[in-house]
Symmetry: C2
Subunit: 274 residues, 2 copies
C-alpha cells in the first residue's frame, strides 16, 4: 500500500463512556478523515484525572455500538489512560495510530480542569507513547448537548494535526464554546488560565445518622490575560492549549538554587536522628 | 499568640491509605517541626492520578490511629485530592496550613510517574489552593520498607520549605533512594527525566472462560541527562523536582503559530458540514 492511498488510522477514546453522544459525534467526524478504531470505557470515568488501573485486572470486550458505521470498537472496564494503553499494546499492536482523539467531553476541560480531566489523560497518555493526540471538550454539561456547530472545526483541527503535526512532548487541549445564536468566532492558541475551584462541601446525614459530604464548587478565574483559554471561550473562540507532560518548573529550580540550603552538614542531619 | 511561639501547622495526606507505614513515618518526623493534622484515604489509592470524586458522596471520619502521638486524624473515603480539599475547606476551615506534605509513598514517583501519582496529586491540589506542598516517595515498593535513612533528610527539606518557601505555582516531588549500605549522597534539584513505561498486558481467562488483562510494564529511561531525577536516584541522591500545574507548552504554541492554518475560511468549514 502506498503512502497516498493509505487512510490515516485514528484511535478514539473518551471519559464519558462508549455510549455518550460526544464520542458518537467524534466517530462520525473522524470517519470523514480516516479509518477509525474506538477503545473507550464501558462506564463514565469523569474526574478520573490520570488514573490507571494497577490493583485490578481489566476487561476488554468487542462492542457493536458503531457496527453500522463499519467502525471497530471495544469497551474497557478501566480508565481513559488504561484504554489508550490497551489500544496501543493489545488492540492495534503493529498498526500505528496516526492520530489519537479523545472526547468529545460533555463539559469544559479548560484551565486547571485539565488536571482532573479523564478526556485529557487519554490524550496525554498517547503523547507519552509518542502519538499525536488531541482532547476535545464542549463547554456544555448537558447529556443532550448540541455538538453540530463544533463538527467542522473539529474536522479542521484534526486535519491540521495530521498535516502539520503536534509539538513533541505535548497533547492539545481543545475546548469549544457551547452552541449559541452567534457563530463560533474562530480558533485561538492559548495558555492555560490561572484559576481555581472555590470548594464547598455540602454536609448531609444518611438514614443511619452518619454524615456524608457532596463536593460543590464554583470556578474562579484569577487570570486577566487575553491570551488564556478562559478569555477565548468567554469570547466565543475555540481554545487550543498545547499541554506538556513534563511538569518541571525550571524557574522554580533556579529560585530554589538561590535560596535553599541543599547541602546540610552531618551535624545538622545527625541532630535530626534524635 | 505571637509569631515566634506559634508552631507551624502541617497537613499530612498520602495515597497508600492512613494505615500505611510511610504516613506513620511522616507523622513522626513532622511532629518534631509543628502541629500535625492528618486527612488521608481510608484505603489505598495508588495510581489514582489527579482523580476527584464527583458522582459520589464522600465519607470523613475521625480516626484514633495517631491518638498516642496527640495527632488529630481523619480518614476519608475519597482520593488524595479529595482529602486535601476536605481538609482545607472542612477540617481546617479558618486554620491555614503552613505546609502540606504527602506520603511517604511506598514506591518511586520519579519522572513521568508523577502523572499517575496520587501522592503528588495531593501536593499539587494543595499548590493550586496556594499552599506550600511536598510529596515524598521512597523508591522501595515493599510494605516493610525501611524509612529510617530518609527521616533526617525529610525533616531538613520540610524545614527548608517552611523557611524559604516553595516556588509559586509548583509543588515539590521528592524521591528518596531505597535504603542501602551506602549513606545517601545528598539532595539534587532535578528536572523530570524523559521516560516511559513499556507496557505489556498479560491475557488470562476467568473460570467462565471470559478474558481479562493484567497490566505489566517495565520502566524505560530515555534521558541521558545528568540533571534528571532518574540520574540522581541512580547515584544515591534524593531528587527534588519543582512541578508546575500550568501545563502550557509555550514553545509548542510558538511552533503551531508558525505552521498551522488557524483561520479556515467559510467555504472550507461549510464543506465540512456536508
Amino acid at each position: 500500500m502506498t503512502a497516498h492511498t493509505r487512510k490515516p488510522l485514528i484511535l478514539i477514546s473518551n471519559d464519558d463512556g462508549i455510549t455518550a453522544p460526544g464520542i458518537a459525534t467524534l466517530v462520525r467526524v473522524m470517519r470523514r478523515i480516516g479509518e477509525v478504531v474506538v477503545v473507550a470505557p464501558d462506564s463514565p470515568q469523569s474526574g478520573m484525572g490520570h488514573a490507571i488501573t494497577i490493583g485490578n485486572p481489566l476487561r476488554l470486550d468487542a462492542s457493536t455500538i458503531f457496527e453500522d458505521e463499519g467502525v471497530e470498537a471495544y469497551e474497557c472496564s478501566g480508565t481513559p489512560a488504561d484504554c489508550v494503553k490497551l489500544a496501543k499494546h493489545h488492540v492495534l499492536k503493529d498498526r500505528q495510530a496516526d492520530l489519537v482523539v479523545s472526547g468529545i467531553n460533555h463539559g469544559s476541560n479548560s484551565s486547571v480542569n485539565v488536571l482532573y480531566s479523564g478526556t485529557m489523560s487519554a490524550a496525554i497518555e498517547a503523547a507519552i507513547e509518542g502519538l499525536p493526540a488531541i482532547g476535545f471538550s464542549l463547554c456544555d454539561y448537558g447529556h443532550d448537548a448540541d455538538f453540530t456547530h463544533a463538527e467542522p472545526w473539529i474536522e479542521h483541527i484534526a486535519r491540521q494535526a495530521l498535516k502539520n503535526g503536534i509539538p513533541v512532548g505535548t497533547a492539545l487541549n481543545v475546548n469549544i464554546p457551547k452552541k449559541s445564536e452567534e457563530a463560533l468566532a474562530g480558533i485561538r492558541l492559548c495558555r492555560q488560565a490561572r484559576a481555581k475551584w472555590q470548594e464547598k462541601f455540602d454536609l448531609r446525614h444518611d438514614p443511619y445518622k452518619r454524615p456524608y459530604y457532596w463536593l460543590i464548587g464554583s470556578f474562579v478565574n484569577l487570570d486577566q490575560g487575553e491570551d488564556t483559554d478562559e478569555w477565548a471561550l468567554a469570547n466565543n473562540y475555540i481554545s487550543v492549549v498545547a499541554c506538556q507532560y513534563d511538569l518541571t518548573a525550571l524557574h522554580g529550580l533556579t529560585e530554589m538554587n538561590a535560596s535553599w540550603d541543599l547541602t546540610p552538614d552531618h551535624a545538622t542531619l545527625a541532630k535530626r536522628h534524635a
